[in-house]
């Protein structure tokens, strides 16, 4: 048992999904050619001024309301002053003393199924910086300012996570939430959602914080886990071997699986924050906030509880199905078509469908198998057209061919035989072929019933409806 306790706080940066930038009318689309989406304001040209994007404000408030935070009636933009080539003005417009979102909280589910509440200290609006490119430029660095001025919400947690796994659970929960709220596309590869992790260790039972290291710009859940694990081990080893953790900024190198000190950030920064005189205090009144609240979607925790009560799902299943709004919507669209079968629907969505999506690296929202089509299959299971075994075969065909369940059933002739006379005919044919067994059965050897079932199924290639077959066979055999 380790004698050390890990203390983690996360600062998550989520790019807000606005069309234009936070302080300019330039586009925010990802992947444009360098500097083609950097306008005069983004470039910090002499004489230009910022004007705040209404949608960025609305999105930040949505987030605040979703985590039960207090929304500041007045918040203030401040300048964070430092020199860096990807920071065109020599300062970043951010919020410092008066952020738009004050204390809130987010619940995460731990591995043992228990719920832990993580405090969110604050969330504030700010502008993103540009990007430095080092490849193929020799002794030079290229600066692309397309990203400069993209709105961000920085979500700062309390240092309340105690393991890398908790940190990942928290980050995933925030990720789920921002996508539910439709305020961030959550694309981590493109950097739309990334985090800095403040990591420290302390002797178990201590109430003092250890010296922390800040690991910058981690853009995957896996890297967050690996980076924290590495950093925790590094700090413990350092302390146990008589060394001291220094407060510094570190970078996670996924290729080497380690964190290293960032040379460029070595010197102590003095950001000289002060209120940005180009922007006025942002005021929100009760009516503004209530209007935004009224537009909030059902949030993941509420949706999961509803799935438990409305559909009789387990808490675990409800949690899985509400992990994304697309998945939950998909599930509910399926249930809508087969209202009597919510569990069957859950099993298929979480089972066969999830497996094949995962295998092919597709998202639920990819449209490859629309909910109505999966529902079409479940209808045929429910009305006994398909047995469970046949259903899997049909599902595979539906996935590969893009056809509806009925079309596959029709084409493959997989439909159950439910026509009484057809089943009767098949029974009679079997009886005629097996006079000896018939005599034995009628003589009292009940066990032979199974033999007849098998023979009829064989004759109908397994398509006879089992219940009907049972009834009819009993009648016929008894004469």
């Amino acid at each position: 048992m380790s004698a050390w306790e890990t203390v983690i706080g996360l600062e998550i940066h989520a790019q807000l999904a606005t069309r234009s930038k936070i302080f300019s009318g330039a586009a925010t689309a990802y992947g444009a050619a360098p500097n083609t989406q950097a306008c005069l304001v983004d470039l910090g040209y002499p004489g230009v001024l910022p004007v705040l994007n209404a949608e960025a404000v609305r999105m930040a408030v949505r987030f605040g309301l979703a985590i039960g935070a207090r929304i500041a009636r007045q918040s203030v933009f401040a300048r964070k002053n430092y020199f860096y080539p990807d920071l065109p003005k020599g300062y970043q417009i951010s919020q410092y003393e008066l952020p738009i979102v004050a204390a809130g909280s987010i619940d995460i589910v731990l591995e043992d199924g228990s719920v832990k509440r993580i405090g969110v200290t604050r969330a504030h609006l700010e502008e993103d910086a540009g990007k430095s490119l080092h490849e193929g430029l020799g002794a030079l660095t290229g600066i692309d300012l397309n990203r400069a001025g993209t709105p961000l919400i920085e979500i700062v947690s309390e240092p309340e996570m105690r393991s890398a796994k908790e940190a990942v659970a928290y980050m995933k929960k925030v990720h789920t939430l921002v996508r539910y709220l439709e305020i961030c596309d959550g694309n981590m590869q493109e950097g739309s959602f990334r985090c800095d992790a403040n990591v420290s260790v302390r002797p178990l039972g201590s109430d003092q914080f250890g010296t922390r290291a800040e690991i910058k710009n981690i853009n995957s859940f896996r890297y967050v886990e690996k980076a924290i694990q590495y950093e925790v081990a590094r700090q413990i080893e350092l302390i146990e071997s008589g060394g001291k953790v220094i407060q510094e900024t570190r970078l996670y190198d996924p290729d080497r699986g380690e964190t290293r000190s960032m040379r460029s950030k070595e010197e102590a920064n003095d950001y000289r924050y002060f209120p940005d005189p180009d922007l006025l205090p942002l005021e929100l009144d009760e009516a503004d906030i209530e209007a935004i609240r009224a537009g909030l979607p059902e949030l993941p925790d509420a949706k999961a509880s509803r799935f438990v009560s409305q559909y009789g799902l387990s808490a675990y299943d409800a949690g899985v199905l509400t992990a994304s709004r697309d998945l939950a919507d998909y599930y509910e669209a399926v249930v809508h078509a087969v209202p009597q079968q919510p569990k069957l629907a859950a099993n298929w969505v979480m089972g066969d469908l999830a497996a094949v999506l995962n295998k092919e690296g597709l998202e639920i929202g990819s449209g490859r198998l629309p909910a109505e089509r999966l529902a079409g299959l479940l209808v045929r299971i429910a009305d006994q057209t398909l047995s469970g075994k046949l259903a899997k075969e049909v599902f595979e065909s539906m996935w590969s061919s893009g056809q509806s369940a009925d079309a596959v059933i029709e084409a493959k002739g997989l439909k159950q035989i439910t026509d009484t006379s057809a089943i009767e005919q098949a029974i009679e044919a079997v009886m005629a072929k097996n006079p000896a067994q018939l005599a034995e059965y009628r003589g009292g050897k009940d066990k032979l019933f199974g033999f007849f079932v098998g023979q009829v199924m064989k004759a109908t290639q397994g398509k006879a409806n089992p219940a009907q077959l049972n009834d009819l066979l009993k009648k016929k055999l008894s004469g």
Binding site: G25, E55, P281
Partner: protein, 96 residues
């Protein structure tokens, strides 16, 4: 209050200004004078007075509709740039 040479050098570094050795005493003297002068503020009785960041009372931030109003003009904008290639602004290598 006299600023030390080290203080002046530190401020110059924060402001990314390079002062020649010969200039430093001059800046040291000027800045010390200025710091003394603004130090007069100490005598102002500002207890309970809120800081004033904007000259007009009661104005609040106006919001802009979220619309893309700018086009790609990077060639025009980069005419003022000392060094560009392939649309990128170039600087000496940044080491992270």
């Amino acid at each position: 209050m006299a600023l030390t040479r080290e203080q002046v050098e530190n401020i110059a570094h924060l402001a990314r200004l390079e002062l020649e050795a010969a200039e430093i005493p001059q800046f040291q003297q000027n800045l010390s004078r200025i710091v003394d002068f603004i130090g007069e503020l100490e005598r102002a009785d500002t207890a309970g007075v809120a800081p004033m960041a904007h000259p007009l009372p009661g104005l609040t931030q106006r919001l802009r509709p979220d619309a893309v109003t700018e086009r790609d003009e990077h060639e025009l904008y980069q005419r003022n740039a000392p060094q560009v290639a392939s649309g990128l602004y170039l600087v000496p290598k940044v080491i992270e």
